[in-house]
Symmetry: C2
Subunit: 217 residues, 2 copies
C-alpha cells in the first residue's frame, strides 16, 4: 500500500486493522457522507484522536480502501487466471470477478470483502472525482486501479492486437461492472436486470459488449 495514504500503517497494529474492518462496515451501513471518524471511534471503542493517528481524514481513508480493493481484486485475478492461457477465458474470468459480490476471503481477517464490494460500487468513484485528482494521482494513490486496467488492457491486446482502444475498454469494463451493479440495486429502470437475476446478467451484458467490439476490429 502507498505510504502517502496513511500516517501510521493500519495493517501493522490491532487498532489499525480494526479501523479498516469497521470503516468498511460503517461506510456500508451509513454511506460515505454520513460516515465520520467520531462514529467510527465509537463503533470501534476507541477515540477520534486515535483514528487521526492513522489517517489524515476520511477521504484519505476512502482512497486507501479503494486502493486496497483494487490491489486485492488484481491479486485475485492474477491468482485465478494464473494457469489460463486463452485470453478469451481470462477476460471472462475478469468480468465475472468484477461484477459479482465477492465471498469473504478468509486470508484477510481484517476486511470483509463481501461488504467491501458494495462499498466500492457505491463510493469508489468518489475517491477520484475530486479537485485533488491530479495531485493525488501524482502521489500514485490510484496505482492499483491503473495497474488493474493495464492488466485488463493487455489481455484485450492479447486477444486482438489490432483493437484500437484497449485502455478505454479496460476502464469501461471496471466502471460498468460497478455502475450496472449499483443501478440494478438502486435505479433499476437504468438496467435490464432485476435484483433476483443477480450479477450473472451483468456478466452476460459485459461479455456481449466486450467481445462484440474486440472480435470485430
Amino acid at each position: 500500500m502507498n505510504e502517502g495514504l496513511y500516517l501510521r500503517n493500519p495493517e501493522d497494529t490491532a487498532l489499525g486493522r480494526k479501523i479498516l474492518k469497521h470503516s468498511v462496515e460503517l461506510i456500508y451501513k451509513l454511506g460515505f457522507e454520513a460516515f465520520n471518524f467520531k462514529k467510527l471511534a465509537e463503533d470501534i471503542g476507541s477515540t477520534e484522536a486515535g483514528i487521526y493517528r492513522y489517517f489524515e481524514n476520511k477521504h484519505k481513508l476512502l482512497i486507501y480502501i479503494t486502493a486496497w480493493y483494487f490491489g486485492w481484486i488484481g491479486f485475485q485475478i492474477g491468482f485465478q487466471t494464473n494457469n489460463i492461457e486463452i485470453p478469451k477465458v481470462k477476460l471472462h474470468k475478469i468480468i465475472s470477478l468484477l461484477s459479482s459480490p465477492i465471498e469473504d476471503d478468509k486470508q484477510t481477517s481484517y476486511i470483509d470483502e463481501s461488504l467491501l464490494h458494495p462499498v466500492i460500487v457505491a463510493e469508489g468513484s468518489k475517491a477520484y472525482l475530486t479537485k485533488q485528482v491530479e495531485e493525488n494521482n501524482k502521489l500514485q494513490f490510484f496505482q492499483p486501479y491503473k495497474d488493474l486496467c493495464t492488466l485488463i488492457g493487455n489481455v484485450i491486446l492479447e486477444y486482438n492486437p489490432n483493437y484500437k482502444f484497449p485502455k478505454s475498454l479496460a476502464s469501461t469494463i471496471v466502471e460498468i461492472a460497478h455502475f450496472q451493479n449499483f443501478f440494478m440495486h438502486n435505479l433499476s429502470s437504468l438496467t435490464d436486470f432485476s435484483k433476483k437475476d443477480k450479477e450473472t446478467e451483468i456478466v452476460e451484458f459485459l461479455n456481449d459488449l466486450v467481445f462484440s467490439s474486440i472480435d470485430k476490429s
Copy 2:
C-alpha cells in the same frame, strides 16, 4: 423541474437565477466538496440564509443541477434528431452530444452549458451515489436522467429490435461518455485519448463499442 428539489423556484426570480448561474461556476471552480452556501452567497453578493430559502441543502442543489442538465441534453437531442429518420445517425448524434463539451446555449442566460458539462462529468454521479437514492428516486428526482436513457434505449431498439440489453447499454453510453471525458482530462492512463485529441476520440470509441454489439445481435 421537479418541485421537490427546491423550496422556492429558482427560475422565477433574479436571485434564484443567480444562484443557479453562480453555483455552476463555483462548483466548477472549487469542486462540490469545497463548495458551500456561504461561499456561494459571497460570490453572488447575497447571504447564506437567502440561498437556504431556495434550496434545502447543497446536495439538493446538485441534484437540481444534474436534473437540469439531463433535461436540457434531452431537449437538445430531441431538437437535433428531430428530422433524422435513420436510427444509426440518431445514435451517432446522441453519442456526440453526450461526449463533447457544449457551447453555451444563448437561450438559457442563467446557466453556462460550457461549464455545466465538466461539472456534470466530475460531480454528476454524486447526485445518486448516496444512501438516499431510493428515497430520492421515489420522489422522481432522477426522472430526466431516466427519461434520457429510455429515449436512447428506444433508439437502440429501433436500430435493432433483437438487442437484449437496451437499457443497460443506454446508461452505459451516458456514463462512459462522461467517465472517459474525466479520465482523459485527469487520469489519462485510463484512456487511449490525449487532451489534444479532444472528444472526437471518445465519440469514435463509443460508436465502435455500441455499434459492434447492436450490429451483431
